[in-house]
C-alpha cells in the first residue's frame, strides 16, 4: 500500500486539472495585474475570471470578493475590520472556533461572549439571540469545525440576526469562517444570511497562499492593512495571481456528489471503530457532521503515539492530544464538548477527501486495532 492521506482537514493536494491550468502563471503569464501592458492585462484577465467563479459559487457579486493570502489573514481582516472605530464593541462567537478567529478576538479590545456547544459540538441558535446586546457589533461563528466536523446552523443564526437588525440602528455584522464547509455544504451567502465569509484554497484542492473573503456590499468595514489599492484596499500588495487563479478553478471542481461517497466511507470507519475496538467514543455529534470527519477517543492510548504508529504504517492522521501540540495543552474544542483531559489525550482525527478509496479505508481498519492493542499493553490500561 502506498502512503495514505487521512488528513484532508489540514490541507489537500492540488487538483491535477487545476495545477495544469495555473502553472503557466509561474512562467509565461507572470505579469503584474497593476501593469497596463499585455503582460499585466493577461494577469488581470485571470484574476477577473477567478473572482467570477468565487462570486458564482457563493452567489455573490464579483465586487464583494476579496482575495487574501490565507484564511487567517482573511479572518483578521474581517474581525478587526468590523471592530474598528466601534466603541466598546461586543462580539458573539463560539467556544470551538479556530485559533484564527479566537486569537484576533483575544487581541482586540472587544468584549467577547463564547457560546457553549454542549456535548454535541453544536451551538443552539437561541443562545445567539440571548447573547446579543446593545453594543454587539459582530457575530462570528464557524460553519463547520475543523477538529470534530460539527456543523453550525448558520442559516438559522443568520435569520435571527436579520430580525434583530430590523429593529436596530447599529447593525450587527455576521461572519462565518467556512473554510471546512466549502467542499460539502451549501454556501450561498443569501441563504446563510452572512455579511462576511472566509474560505481557503488549500482545503478545496487549490493551492496554498490563496483564500477569499466575501464582504457583503455596504458592510461597514475599515481596512487594517495599508498600501496600494489592490483588493479594494483590504489586501494591498501585488496579487498572487497563480494561487488566486487556482482557487477559482478549484471551486469550479467542487461537486456535491463527492459528499455521498465520502460519507459512506466515514460511516464505515465510525461503525467499525465503535463496534470492534472496545472503549472508543465518537467526539461530536454524528448527524450534524461533515461527511469527511471522524474524531474518536481511544481510552488507554495516547493520540500522538497512535498517530506515530499509524504514520509508521504510512497512514497520516492527526490528534487533539496535548502531546502533539507545541503548547502541551489539549485541544480547546475537545474540552469544550466536555471531554476530560484524559479523554482528549486519546483523540484521533481522521479526515477523508476526494481521493480516499475503499481500499485505503480497509487498510486503515486492518492496521488500527493491533496498534491500539499494543499501545494499551504498553500503558497497562
Amino acid at each position: 500500500m502506498e502512503k495514505i492521506y487521512f488528513d484532508y482537514a489540514a490541507t489537500t493536494p492540488v487538483d491535477k486539472g487545476v495545477a495544469e491550468k495555473i502553472t503557466p502563471f509561474l512562467e509565461e503569464k507572470f505579469g503584474n495585474p497593476s501593469s497596463l501592458h499585455a503582460f499585466g492585462q493577461e494577469a488581470v484577465f485571470a484574476l477577473d475570471r477567478a473572482r467570477e467563479s468565487v462570486a458564482r459559487f457563493f452567489g455573490a457579486k464579483e465586487r464583494e470578493i476579496i482575495f487574501m493570502p490565507s484564511a487567517t489573514v482573511a479572518n483578521n481582516v474581517a474581525i478587526q475590520g468590523a471592530l474598528q472605530k466601534k466603541e466598546k464593541p461586543h462580539v458573539v462567537t463560539s467556544a470551538i472556533e479556530h485559533k484564527a478567529v479566537i486569537e484576533p478576538l483575544k487581541n482586540s479590545s472587544a468584549e467577547v461572549t463564547y457560546l457553549p456547544v454542549y456535548k454535541e459540538g453544536v451551538i443552539k441558535e437561541e443562545d445567539v439571540k440571548k447573547a446579543i446586546k446593545e453594543n454587539t457589533v459582530l457575530v462570528s461563528i464557524g460553519y463547520a469545525n475543523s477538529e470534530i466536523g460539527t456543523i453550525q446552523p448558520i442559516g438559522k443564526i443568520g435569520k435571527i440576526i436579520e430580525k434583530e437588525n430590523e429593529k436596530r440602528r447599529n447593525k450587527i455584522i455576521f461572519h462565518t469562517d467556512a473554510v471546512q464547509a466549502v467542499n460539502y455544504l451549501p454556501c450561498k451567502v443569501d441563504k446563510l444570511k452572512v455579511d462576511l465569509l472566509t474560505m481557503s484554497g488549500h482545503k478545496i484542492y487549490g493551492p496554498k497562499g490563496a483564500a477569499a473573503l466575501y464582504v457583503r456590499e455596504k458592510t461597514p468595514m475599515s481596512p487594517i492593512l495599508f498600501g496600494a489599492s489592490q483588493e479594494k484596499g483590504f489586501y494591498p500588495g501585488t496579487e498572487n495571481v497563480f494561487a488566486f487563479a487556482g482557487l477559482g478553478f478549484a471551486l469550479e471542481e467542487i461537486k456535491k456528489n463527492d459528499s455521498e461517497e465520502t460519507k459512506k466511507l466515514r460511516d464505515r470507519i465510525i461503525d467499525f471503530v465503535l463496534k470492534e475496538i472496545p472503549e472508543t467514543k465518537l467526539n461530536g455529534e454524528r448527524e450534524r457532521r461533515l461527511p469527511n470527519n471522524v474524531n474518536i477517543t481511544v481510552e488507554g492510548a495516547e493520540g500522538e503515539s497512535l498517530m506515530m504508529a499509524l504514520d509508521n504504517e504510512k497512514i497520516a492522521v492527526s490528534t487533539g492530544s496535548a502531546c502533539a501540540s507545541n503548547s502541551l495543552s489539549p485541544s480547546h474544542v475537545l474540552l469544550s464538548i466536555g471531554l476530560s483531559r484524559e479523554r482528549a489525550h486519546g483523540s484521533l482525527r481522521i479526515t477523508l477527501g476526494r481521493y480516499t478509496t475503499e481500499e485505503e479505508v480497509d487498510y486503515f481498519l486492518e492496521k488500527l486495532p493491533p496498534i491500539v492493542e499494543r499501545l494499551r499493553k504498553i500503558s497497562g490500561k
Partner: protein
C-alpha cells in the same frame, strides 16, 4: 526526508523491550504530567544491591514510551544509587535526539525512576 523523530526513537517506540507490569518488583514509582495527561510507572527488581530487572508502563507520546524503555535498559546492572545519577542528556543521547518540546517526556522517566528507588529504599 525529514522525520519528526529519529530512527532510534521510532524503533524503541515500536518495539520497546521492557514494558509491562512487574509482579515481584522491589520498588514501584509513578510519575505523571497533569498538564498533558501523561502517566508513567517504573518497576525495579533489586537483588544483592543491584537492579537486575526493570520495566515500565507508560501512557504518553512516542517519545515518552521510547525514553521509558531507554531508562529501563540503562539502569539494569546498576545499583539504585548509580541509577539515580542518570541524566536527561544521557537518555537523549541514546535516542540521538529528541524534538525540543519532547525533552520533558524524558524527565517523566527520571521522575518515575526516582520514585521507584525511593519506594525500594522504604521497603528495605
Amino acid at each position: 526526508m525529514k522525520n519528526y523523530y529519529t530512527k532510534e526513537v521510532i524503533d524503541r517506540f515500536l518495539n520497546p523491550k521492557h514494558f509491562g507490569e512487574m509482579k515481584d518488583a522491589s520498588g514501584i514509582g509513578k510519575a505523571g504530567n497533569p498538564r498533558c495527561g501523561d502517566q508513567m510507572e517504573v518497576f525495579i527488581k533489586v537483588k544483592e544491591g543491584k537492579i537486575i530487572d526493570a520495566s515500565f508502563r507508560t501512557l504518553g507520546c512516542a517519545a515518552a514510551i521510547a525514553t521509558s524503555d531507554v531508562i529501563c535498559e540503562m539502569i539494569i546492572g546498576k545499583t539504585p544509587k548509580e541509577a539515580l545519577s542518570i541524566t536527561e542528556e544521557e537518555m537523549v543521547k541514546e535516542l540521538k535526539k529528541l524534538p525540543a518540546v519532547k525533552v520533558h517526556c524524558s524527565s517523566l522517566a527520571i521522575e518515575g525512576l526516582k520514585k521507584a528507588v525511593n519506594d525500594y529504599e522504604k521497603r528495605k
